[in-house]
């Protein structure tokens, strides 16, 4: 387990995340997101969390990002849209940036408190994770499956082709529906 690799990978992930967040093009943003996720997976591997790293690549970068890709495929991106997004970005960044920096600043003092002690920690085998998940955390897993079911049903409903009729009454003449 190498913390140093993890730190480097984490730093790269941060850089990629920044790119993802600040690019005006959806596709570029998506690729940056993929990069961030994959570097995070590398970080997980470096930390000895093999299962998490594998899941990250398979599901996070593989399925979730892929869904994003499907959706991005359907949009038409034009220069006008990009320019509009860029201009908006230019206008509004101070306050959120301040908030973000504030958050980071609040955590920084933790660095001071940390002492350079002996290296502790071990790689956690998958077996331990599975024992946990099917053991004490079984109820949580069930709840998570509820959540997934709800999400699936919701997505299926929202994604129907034929929309429900609009909530407004169709416009009628003065004499009522003739």
């Amino acid at each position: 387990m190498s913390a140093m690799v993890a730190i480097v990978a984490g730093g790269l992930a941060v850089v990629a995340a920044l790119l993802a967040v600040t690019s005006s093009d959806a596709v570029r943003s998506l690729f940056a997101l993929l990069a961030a996720l994959l570097t995070l997976a590398a970080a997980f591997f470096a930390l000895g969390a093999d299962f998490a790293g594998a899941l990250q690549i398979l599901i996070y970068a593989g399925a979730v990002a892929a869904v994003f890709v499907f959706v991005v495929m359907t949009i038409t991106n034009s220069d006008a849209l990009r320019a509009a997004e860029r201009s908006r970005l230019r206008r509004v960044w101070p306050v959120p940036a301040a908030v973000a920096i504030l958050i980071v600043l609040m955590v920084l003092p933790a660095l001071r408190g940390a002492k350079s002690s002996a290296a502790v920690g071990a790689a956690i085998p998958v077996r331990a994770v599975g024992a946990l998940l099917f053991g004490p955390w079984a109820v949580v897993v069930e709840l998570a499956s509820f959540l997934l079911l709800a999400a699936m049903l919701g997505a299926r409903h929202l994604g129907r082709r034929a929309p429900s009729p609009p909530p407004n009454e169709p416009l009628q003449g003065r004499d009522g529906p003739s």
């Binding site: 509004v92 306050v95 959120p96 908030v99 958050i103 003092p109």
Partner: protein, 646 residues
């Protein structure tokens, strides 16, 4: 009960007649009403004649006290007196009153019973009031009589209640004379304050010791009252319109007696005026201007009663001139003569107008010499006296006395003399003109309805008065001497010039007759005929603003109805209080406490709309608020050694 108690009885018959006719609960037939009225007037006249006999024979300063009241340090002692002035004026008033009431018996023959009673009641009341004033020995009786005369004048002018013109005329007369009465009252009160008593001799004596400035003020105030009552400039506008009353009223009140009361007042307080020479000079000037003005406007009149009204203004102006030059006795002599011929003129003119179908314009008099000969010839006699035909008429003698007293009164007197001469000439003109019109053939287009010839009740006074107006010249000297002054010696040139003026006026009237185009020029001079529109100026300047003030004080909007209760002076504090309360309510109705609550309640929607702005509907704003909320919670919860509350 003093020995002169019988003096108090002199006005009693008239007052008793008034009470009987006005308040008597019993029913009286028309002949009974007339009898009561006649009795009242003639009994009083008889008593007055008796009093004058007493006065003429022996001592003539009798005092009959009425009662005495002590008010603080002042003593209010009411009394009636009989002195030469009171005797002369009182006798004249009583006899002329008797004649007029006799005449009215025929004139009012066809009035309704209620109106008849009303008329004779007021006439008798008037006679009683005038005699009270004439014989008053103190200012209270004097003022009482004065006011009652004004009141009767109002009622009698407005006798014909169905005629709005009559009521308006009565109101105008009342208001103008009331205005003068206020001035008179102020003067009398100032004198009372100085004198501490009300007897007229006490007042006059107090006035003589007053500082000159105050004395002049009092004199001017008394003069104001006299001028208003006597219809002199500038208070003359009521007299011409007062002719809307019946002819006997005009004959008695507005020619012979009441309008001369102003001159009587000035004569009564003559010592006071003698002590204020500048006021006296003003008096004389006012009289001179009034006489010229009245005579001038009278020439232009087309209505005989109006002509006689302006003539009264002019003749009383003569009286005032002689008072102003310091000869009040001559003025009283002229008063007597004027009472005789002016009432005669009115009565005869009334009779001729009745014969002409009720029309009172001068042109209607034409043909009266054949229609109503007695009335016409008495009218001619009266007109001759008015014009002052030399030597044969009483008017000549009294007017000459006036002119003589004027011309011998210094440089101002000569100016007055010239003005009076102009007035004399004009007087002769209009007097002769009326007579000449009457002498001519009837110019009426339609024959007037034949009326029965006048009875003895009408003709007797006319004849007697005509005789007196011709022969009364013999009385002038004795009257003046009786009143305690020497008869003014008439310079020869004044007599000759006076006669010339009269004849000039008469010939001018003949000339007018012969030159009709001049007459038509006169007929067209409307502005002069309306008295140079002085009345219109008064309407504009005084009456209209006052009306607006009265309406405003009584809360009447324009064209609205009043509450019917007229109390301007009481309305002022009420209006003030109402305004004040309204202001207070306006201030307090704001309801400060309620305002606070309303503001609090108003803050709720304000807060709501303010808070609503945070609901932007934008995802990123909601995200931001989420962040802040969670951050706050975490800060509170997480154990970090740097935070003070952990």
């Amino acid at each position: 009960m003093s020995s002169n108690f019988w003096l108090l009885l002199v006005p009693v018959p008239t007052l008793a007649a008034f009470m009987t006719l006005a308040f008597g609960p019993f029913w009286l037939g028309p002949s009974q009403v007339r009898a009561v009225a006649l009795a009242g007037a003639w009994l009083t006249a008889a008593l007055m004649l008796a009093a004058s006999g007493v006065c003429a024979s022996g001592t003539c300063h009798l005092l009959a006290p009425v009662f005495t009241v002590k008010v603080g340090t002042a003593s209010v002692a009411l009394a009636l007196i009989l002195d030469p002035l009171a005797t002369v004026v009182g006798t004249t008033v009583a006899i002329v009153g008797g004649f007029v009431i006799s005449y009215s018996l025929g004139y009012m023959a066809r009035a309704r019973l209620a109106d008849l009673r009303r008329f004779f009641a007021y006439m008798n009341l008037f006679l009683g009031a005038m005699l009270t004033m004439v014989m008053a020995g103190d200012s209270i009786n004097f003022f009482l009589g004065w006011e009652m005369m004004g009141l009767c004048s109002f009622f009698l002018i407005g006798y014909n209640m169905s005629l709005p013109r009559a009521f308006a005329a009565g109101r105008k007369a009342f208001v103008i004379t009331r205005f003068g009465d206020v001035l008179l009252l102020a003067g009398l009160l100032l004198l009372f304050y100085e004198a501490g008593g009300v007897r007229i001799d006490a007042l006059v004596n107090a006035a003589l010791v007053m500082p000159p400035g105050r004395r002049s003020v009092v004199a001017v105030l008394l003069l104001g009252g006299a001028l208003a009552k006597s219809a002199q400039l500038p208070f003359h506008t009521w007299l011409p319109v007062a002719m809307a009353g019946p002819t006997p009223v005009s004959a008695l009140l507005h020619s012979a007696t009441m309008v001369a009361a102003g001159a009587f007042l000035l004569a009564r307080f003559a010592p006071l005026f003698a002590a204020t020479p500048e006021v006296l000079a003003a008096v004389a000037m006012v009289g001179a201007f009034s006489s010229c003005f009245g005579a001038l406007v009278a020439v232009f009149q087309t209505d005989v009663k109006r002509m006689l009204a302006y003539s009264s203004i002019s003749q009383i102006g003569f009286m005032i001139i002689s008072i102003g030059v310091g000869a009040p006795q001559v003025a009283i002599a002229h008063f007597v003569i004027h009472a005789i011929f002016k009432s005669l003129l009115f009565l005869s003119a009334g009779d001729m107008a009745y014969a002409a179908g009720g029309r009172t314009d001068i042109a209607a008099l034409a043909g009266s010499s054949t229609r109503r000969p007695i009335a016409y010839f008495s009218f001619a006699a009266g007109a001759a006296s008015l014009a002052g035909l030399p030597l044969i008429t009483a008017g000549w003698w009294s007017k000459e006395a006036i002119l003589a007293s004027a011309v011998s009164a210094g440089p101002l007197g000569e100016i007055l003399w010239s003005l009076a001469l102009i007035a004399v000439a004009l007087t002769a003109t209009y007097a002769t003109r009326a007579v000449l019109v009457g002498a001519g053939p009837s110019t009426l287009l339609a024959r007037p309805p034949a009326v029965p010839p006048a009875g003895i009740a009408t003709n007797a006074p006319l004849v007697l008065l005509a005789a007196a107006s011709l022969a009364g010249g013999l009385l002038v000297g004795p009257i003046v001497r009786f009143l305690g002054a020497a008869e003014p010696d008439t310079p020869a040139f004044s007599a000759i010039v006076g006669a010339a003026a009269v004849l000039l006026g008469v010939s001018a009237a003949f000339a007018l007759r012969r030159h009709p185009h001049l007459a038509s020029r006169i007929a067209r001079a409307r502005k002069v005929r309306q008295g140079f529109r002085i009345d219109a100026v008064y309407q504009q300047r005084f009456v209209r603003p006052f009306r607006h003030l009265a309406y405003w004080l009584n809360g009447v909007r324009r064209g609205g109805r009043s509450s019917g209760i007229v109390d301007p002076l009481g309305a002022v504090p009420v209006l003030g209080i109402v305004w004040l309360v309204r202001r207070m309510i306006h201030w307090a109705a704001v309801d400060r406490v309620d305002r606070v609550w309303m503001r609090l309640a108003g803050m709720v929607p304000e807060l709501s709309s303010f808070s609503r702005r945070s609901q932007t509907g934008r995802v990123r704003d909601y995200a931001l608020s989420l962040i802040f909320g969670i951050a706050a919670l975490l800060l509170l919860a997480l154990k970090s050694p740097r935070l003070p509350w952990h």
